[in-house]
Subunit: 354 residues, 2 copies
Amino acid sequence: MAKKVSIKDVAKAAGVSTATVSNVFSGKKPVNDDLAAKVRAAADRLGYQVNKAASLLRSGKNSVVSVLVPDLSDPFFTSIITEIEHLATDDGYEIIVGNSNDSVDREAGRLDALLAWQPAGLIVIPCSGKVPGRLRTPGQPPCVFLDRVAEFSLADTVTIDNAGAGAMAAQHLVDMGHRQVLVAASDLELAPIRQRAQGAEAAVRKGGGSVQFVELGSDPQLGAEALAAWFDTHPSPSAIVATNDMTTLAALSYMASRKLDLPGQISIVGFDDYAWMQARRTGITVIKQPVEEIASSAWDLLKERMSGDAADIVNRVHDCSLIIRDSVRGISAPAGEAAALGAPRPAGGGAAAG
Amino acid sequence: MAKKVSIKDVAKAAGVSTATVSNVFSGKKPVNDDLAAKVRAAADRLGYQVNKAASLLRSGKNSVVSVLVPDLSDPFFTSIITEIEHLATDDGYEIIVGNSNDSVDREAGRLDALLAWQPAGLIVIPCSGKVPGRLRTPGQPPCVFLDRVAEFSLADTVTIDNAGAGAMAAQHLVDMGHRQVLVAASDLELAPIRQRAQGAEAAVRKGGGSVQFVELGSDPQLGAEALAAWFDTHPSPSAIVATNDMTTLAALSYMASRKLDLPGQISIVGFDDYAWMQARRTGITVIKQPVEEIASSAWDLLKERMSGDAADIVNRVHDCSLIIRDSVRGISAPAGEAAALGAPRPAGGGAAAG
DNA sequence: TTGTAAGCGTTATCAT
DNA sequence: ATGATAACGCTTACAA
C-alpha cells in the first residue's frame, strides 16, 4: 500500500512551505510562477491529490451541495437532478444525492447523513408538507425547497403554478368539447397534486362539465391496475387529466392493456414532457413543467444564499405550458349528460374530493 | 450565527470525555448505558451532529461512494444510479454522483473532484474505452467499471453479453421473416454498441439477410433527424434493431414524425425496457438489460473490495432477455431481394461497418 | 512573496 | 469502561 502523499510531501519535494503549496492549488494568494511550476511538477510526480476532508475541516468551506428527492425512479426528479448537477459542476461544486423514498422517517435519516458533511447548501424536494425538524434548527446550511412545498416562509422555494397547470389542462379539454373528465392523481395529500386537481376541477366546472377523481399512487404499473379497477366500476369519462408523469404513464398503460383507442375512446392530457411522449403515432398532449428553469432558479437562489445573501425569503413560481399533440379528440356536441356523473367518491387507491 | 457544536461541547455538557462521546456515536467501544443516555440527551439538547469531514480525516474511513456516469439524461444511467443509491443507503453509505458528459477531459476532471473526497469506493461507467490515468495510479480506492468497458484486467467489471444481446434481437427478426435489417447504433466506437451491432449482423447474415448500419448519436431528437436523412437516401429495411435506449427513442421518434405504421411498415426491436415502452397500443419488443442485477453485482463486488478483499479481478457478465410485444411484424415470404441492400456505407452521423 | 505554526473536530492509542 | 492527548492534512493569521 503506497503511503498517502500529503501537502507536506509536496512541499518538501518542491523545497517550499506547505502554505505555498496550498496557495498554488487554491489560488488564494499569488505565488511566484517559477515556484508554482516547481510545486505542480512535484505534485504530479508524487501523484498528490488534495484532501477535501482536511480542507473542509480547516476552512469550513465545502464544495458539495446535497440534493434530496423523494423518488429516484421518477424521471421528473432525476431530470431535476441532472440539471442541478450540470449547473453545480460548472460552478465548481459536487453534488451528493439522497433518496427519501417517499418516507418521512427515511427523509429525516438521509438528511442527517447529508448534513453530517456540512454541505455548502441543500436542495430538497420534501416528500410531504412537513419540513424535517432538523432543518428548522439554526446554523444549518442554506436550503431551497422545490416542488412539494407546503410551507413557504421557512426558506426559499421554487414551485410551479399548480392550480394554473391543472386548469390549463382541463380548459383545453373543455375547449375541445369534453364535459366528463377524470382527474388521475397520484396522491391528493400532496399539495401540488391537490392543487393541480383543484385547478382542473374548477376549469371543468366552469365549462359546465363534471369531474371525478381517482388516486393511483406513484407506481405506473400499480396505477394502471387501479385505474382499470376504477373504470370497471364507474361510467367512463371522455377524457383524463393526469397530474404528474407517473399517472400519465399509468393512464396510458391502462389504455394499452385494454387496447383502448387514444384519443378515439378516451382523450388524455399528460403531465410533464419527456422524449417518449412524442415518439409515438399519437403524440401526447401535455402540460410541460419548465424543468430547466426550475433547476436553474433553485441553483441561482442557492448560490445567492451560499455567498452570504441574507435577503428576505423568496418564493419563485414558474408557469407551465400546454403542448398540444394528438391525444385529445375534438367533440362537437356535448357527449352524454353531465348529470350521469355524480359527485367524487372513493375509488382505486382511495379517492378524495378537491 | 449559532456556534458550531462539537463533540467537546457535548462531552462537557454530559460530564464525560470526548472519547466517550465518540464511542457512543460510533459504537466502536462499549459505553455504560447510563452514560450513553446522558450523552445522547446532551447531544440532542445542543443539536449536535457529527462532522464527517473530521471523522474521515482522522479515521481515513469514508462512508461515501462515488458514481461517475457519462450522461445523466440517459435513463439507463439514472436507473443504474437509482439502484446503487438504494443498495448503498441500506449499507450505510452516501453516494456522490458525477457526470462526465461523454467527454474524456471532463471525465478526468470529475474524477479528480470525486477522488479528492477519498471515497470508500468508486463505480464508474467510463465514457470511452480509455481508463482515466488517475485510476491506474496505486493507492486509489477500489473501483468497479460498468457497461462501457474495454479493459477487463484493471479492475472488477460488470457488463452484459453485448454480442449475445444484439444477436438475440436480430434472431427474433430473422425468425419473424425479416431479411433486411437496419442496425441503429448510437456510436460504433463504443465497445458495447459495436458488439451489439456485430452480434446483430452475424445473426442476420446467418439467417441469409443483409444488414446496414447507421450512427445516430446520443440525442434522440437529433437521432430521429439523422435517421430521417438516412431513410431518404437508402432503400428501406423491413426492420430496425436499436442498440440502446436512446436509439430506440430516435427510431420511434422518426417513425412518429413520418406517421409510419409500426409494425406495419417497419418493425423494431428496441433496447432497454422502460415503463413507457409498454404504455402504448403497440408495445415495443425489446432486449432488456437486467439493470437491477447489474447494479447489485456492481455493489456486491465493490463491497467485497471495500472490505479489503484482494482476490483476483472478476469480470461479471450478465445476460439480457428478449421481451416480445407488438412491434415486430411477422413476414411469411422473404420481402424483396436482399441484394437490393448493398454493403454498409456512411450515413447519418457517419457510419461504419462491424 | 514566502515561511512558521496553530488549530479545525474527530478517532485511536495509551493510561487508568 | 473511561479519560487524556496526539495526530489526521489542510488553511490561515502572522511573522519575516
